[in-house]
Amino acid sequence: MRPRVLTGILLCAALPAAAQRPGGDTRAQIQALQYPPLRFNPTTPKRVTLSNGVAVYLLEDHSLPLLDVEVVSKVGVANLPDSLWGIGWQADGLMRTGGTTRLSPDSVDQLIEFYALNVFISTGNDQSNASFSGLSRYRDQLLDLGFDLLRNPRNDSSRVRITAGQQLEAWRRRNDQPGSVLNRAWSQVMLGDHPLGRSQVTPNEVSGFTPTRFRWAQARIFCPQNLLIGVSGDFDERTLLARLETEFRGWPACAPGLRPIPALQVTTGPKIVLIEKDVNQTNIRMGHAGGIRVADAPDYFAAQVADFLLGGGGGFNSRLLQRVRSDSGFAYSAFSNWAAETKREALFFAGGQIRAEKTVAGLSLMRQIIGSLATDPVTARDVQLAKDNEVNSFVFRFENAGQIVQQQLGYAVEGLPANWFDIYLKGIQAVTPAQVTDVARRYLHPDRLVIVVVGKPGAFDKPLSTLGPVSTMPVDSIHR
């Protein structure tokens, strides 16, 4: 697709030297470029179902002797009873390091490192993942070990002790970096102690670390009905499926005990919260509830374009980066994130790290830029930039077999159709400038932002209170 009108009078191949003089016509050359159509039909993974009902996405690619197995669980730590949140958050590391009923922790480490396997397990708040990859000639070792770790974690008490010590040290270090202080303060201010806002285990939770509790959580997160499998690379379908059947044989159904994730209660503004830290650069985040879910077409697509143009992917041409960084020199980084999920409402926020002496000027500017999406409408050219970027970069979403399989796993977990990317692309292409202005008017509220600031007020250009009432939050009142 070539959305822009070509002025096509210059034959650029004949004229490269013309652009090389100062004041030359590189712009004209670019407009004259005519690109051949991109011929590309990405392959689709094959979906099969194991005898126990687990869905498997398969995509063979024999170009290199490598194999990649992805396991996704549809549940996460926030589905555990609240008292087990800290257990769930560290359950992944112990699955990797704590041995299995068959193998000691040291044996697991030696197998992984001797065969140069890559083994990652991650329990996230609303879903969990495991990834096993390596040379395809070690396929059996990779699958046997990977599924042993998922099914039969030992949680050896020696490794539980190590994890406990490391988590207590992470707690001691939690305020060492301004970014860590801001992330944790922001979550607490916006979401209270909701599990989706947690990322730090407390000493109280560490004191409850026991092998039995870890086992309880692991068995409920990684169990057959919760799982989807993706396999890409150098394998033979029949042999691999037979192997997967063996790996799942006798794996009991998921035990009860998980809960649905509690509803979010997002704090409403206006509100300004200051956490003092002796640094010469101020960490800032501001936002409110995002108001939009993925299912809310066409608003969802318009909000995606709005976010791209505000600071969520539009690069230097986004309003925040253009004005806060390029025009003003206040910051190295300024961004926005208007998140939308399939299952629940998420947050809208913008942030950056601003020179301490420009804190209030920078904050005001950011607030004004957020408001400008409604009052200073985006142009057709801006919206075209977002569309062109999506359309022309689509091939990068399908660069290799692993990426294609991951994409399908992601859609399946979110309950999106297999052709979601096509729907998404069409949705983005249909967005008009008026729709972008409209979603900005309806969903973005620069007058009701919750603003969290980590910095040294003595170095600010003006008191923060010139922007509104400020509440000071002692750093020790960040609970996690």
């Binding site: 650029c12 652009a19 590189t26 170009s63 690069g315 041409n317």
Partner: protein, 504 residues
């Protein structure tokens, strides 16, 4: 445990090992090298797969090439190459050019005042800073800000970025394969016609980058001061991002001079990897770049770091919990001892089964992590550094004791056959895994050719690691890890800080 014994035995007798003399998979890649008469070097590699192309350019220009008083210029110039040319980024080149002398004159007044140091008139300095901002803002009338970024964004470019190191500076992005020609049009303009517009506001941006990465980050500040302590003569001791006062005073003219000296096409290496037609790429390289005049050839830095005569220890005070860096001077990355040093590093800290990890993290629970790495560059003699983070109440001293003890123990207990086999297997798997990603491959090819004038060198290193013996590791352990050759930097809290701070 039985399973493991079986596994290791099987692998030791399996004939899967690659002898060192056999070319690694990377060396057999069908790379086409094309050197223009002006010295500009292209390496092309056609790969099957999705229709994408990765472009990575390395210039033989980095922090080490700066002269006194202009530290950070290599990096600031890297930012400036995104600001456009005489064509891209402006509505009226002539009118804009006419304003630069006016802007530079105000910048010179600012610099003169700034140079007064302690005697500076801070009111005047701030007034000049405001004036500089005003006058640069007035030039924005002719600026199409971030036009380069816009053109690439609308064409679906990915990973658009650049980075500056001690030895080299790189620029990169990916395009859909049908738009490959856009790279030639944009880059042939950018390499010969950069216009350093919006320079002084970008200088402020770079100051914020320094604050973000160094001044507000305990680990960043520790690393900067550690390198300054270890290198007293060689520019590896100077921060690439720049010394704060020099960033604030660097001028547009200095950046232009840096460009003229180091950005000749003969100092540029471009790797183009992906779904390409090599013949078209070759023709376009000739058509777009052959008439760029060659610049001065790059000269290696003359300064050699003198031998260190005695251990150096520094403390860096910061409101944060302790960590330690322990560095030893070792040769450059192409030296005959480099593969053995890499194996030594892997035996001691490469993974959970490594000797120091086993001791510090698993057995004694003294440390949350232990790493080792070489740097800060590759072309010149550098450091092999151990980085450790203690678990209170354990101390950085306990980490030091363990590191010194394990380095000494290599003499008594040389790396075992199994330890070496693990390192070889990992190198072999890594050699194949690195072929997966076209962008990564383009980066490695371009960097290897820029550093060593040989794109294969990066792959030869894999084979060299496989050939290292236990005796080689023992020899380098004896050669480089004497107390007098080391620098130790420790992050501590200031004595006056709240003594309970560490537990908060």
């Amino acid at each position: 445990m039985r399973v493991l014994v079986w596994a290791v035995t099987l692998s030791l007798v399996a004939p899967g090992r690659v002898p060192a003399q056999e070319p690694s998979p990377g060396e057999r890649l069908p790379v086409v090298k094309h050197v223009l008469p002006n010295g500009m070097t292209f390496v092309f590699l056609r790969r099957s797969g999705a229709p994408t192309v990765s472009f990575v350019t390395h210039f033989r220009a980095g922090g080490v090439d700066e002269w006194t008083g202009i530290s950070g210029t290599a990096h600031l110039f890297e930012h400036m190459l995104f600001k456009g040319t005489h064509s891209i980024g402006t509505t009226d080149d002539a009118a804009e050019q006419a304003l630069f002398p006016v802007i530079d004159a105000v910048a010179d007044s600012f610099t003169s005042e700034f140079r007064k140091g302690a005697e500076v008139d801070s009111t005047r300095l701030e007034a000049l800073r405001d004036r500089l901002k005003q006058i640069e803002d007035s030039a924005r009338h002719f600026v199409v800000s971030n036009e380069l970024d816009r053109i690439l964004t609308e064409n679906g470019a990915q990973f658009l970025n650049a980075s500056t190191g001690n030895d080299l500076t790189n620029y990169f992005f990916q395009l859909p394969a049908n738009r490959a020609k856009l790279w030639f049009v944009l880059e042939s303009d950018r390499i010969r016609n950069p216009v350093l517009r919006e320079f002084y506001s970008e200088r402020e941006v770079v100051m914020e980058e320094r604050r973000l990465r160094v001044e507000t980050q305990p680990g960043g500040l520790l690393r900067e001061e550690f390198l300054q302590a270890a290198f007293r003569a060689h520019p590896y001791g100077r921060p690439v991002v720049g010394v704060a006062s020099e960033i604030q005073a660097v001028t547009r003219r200095a950046a232009q001079e840096y460009f003229k000296r180091f950005y000749g096409p003969n100092n540029a290496v471009v790797a183009i990897v992906g779904d390409i037609n090599v013949d078209s790429m070759t023709a376009w390289a000739d058509a777009y770049f052959a008439d760029v005049p060659a610049g001065e050839p790059h000269q290696p830095v003359v300064t050699q770091e003198p031998a260190q005569h005695g251990e150096r220890r520094i403390e860096v005070e910061f409101d944060a919990n302790p960590q330690v860096l322990i560095g030893y001077h070792v040769p450059d990355a192409l030296h005959a001892d480099a593969p053995a040093l890499e194996v030594l590093s892997a035996v001691l800290t490469g993974g959970r089964t490594s000797r120091l990890y086993q001791r510090l993290i698993i057995r004694d629970r003294v440390s949350t992590s232990i790493f080792s790495f070489e740097g800060p560059g590759q072309l010149y003699p550098r450091l092999l550094t151990f980085a450790g983070v203690p678990i209170a109440p354990h101390t950085t001293q306990e980490i030091e004791v363990a590191v010194y003890d394990e380095l000494g123990r290599l003499e008594r207990d040389p790396p075992t056959a199994s330890e070496l086999e693990r390192v070889r297997n990992q190198a072999q798997a890594g050699a194949i895994q690195r072929l997966q990603d076209n962008f990564g491959l383009a980066f490695q090819l371009s960097q290897s050719e820029a550093l060593w004038h040989d794109w294969r060198q990066t792959f030869k290193d894999d084979a060299a690691v496989a050939a290292v013996s236990a005796a080689d590791v023992q020899r380098v352990a004896r050669t480089y890890f004497a107390k007098a050759n080391r620098t130790v930097a420790t992050l501590v809290r200031a004595a006056t800080a709240d003594s309970t701070g560490g537990t908060h």
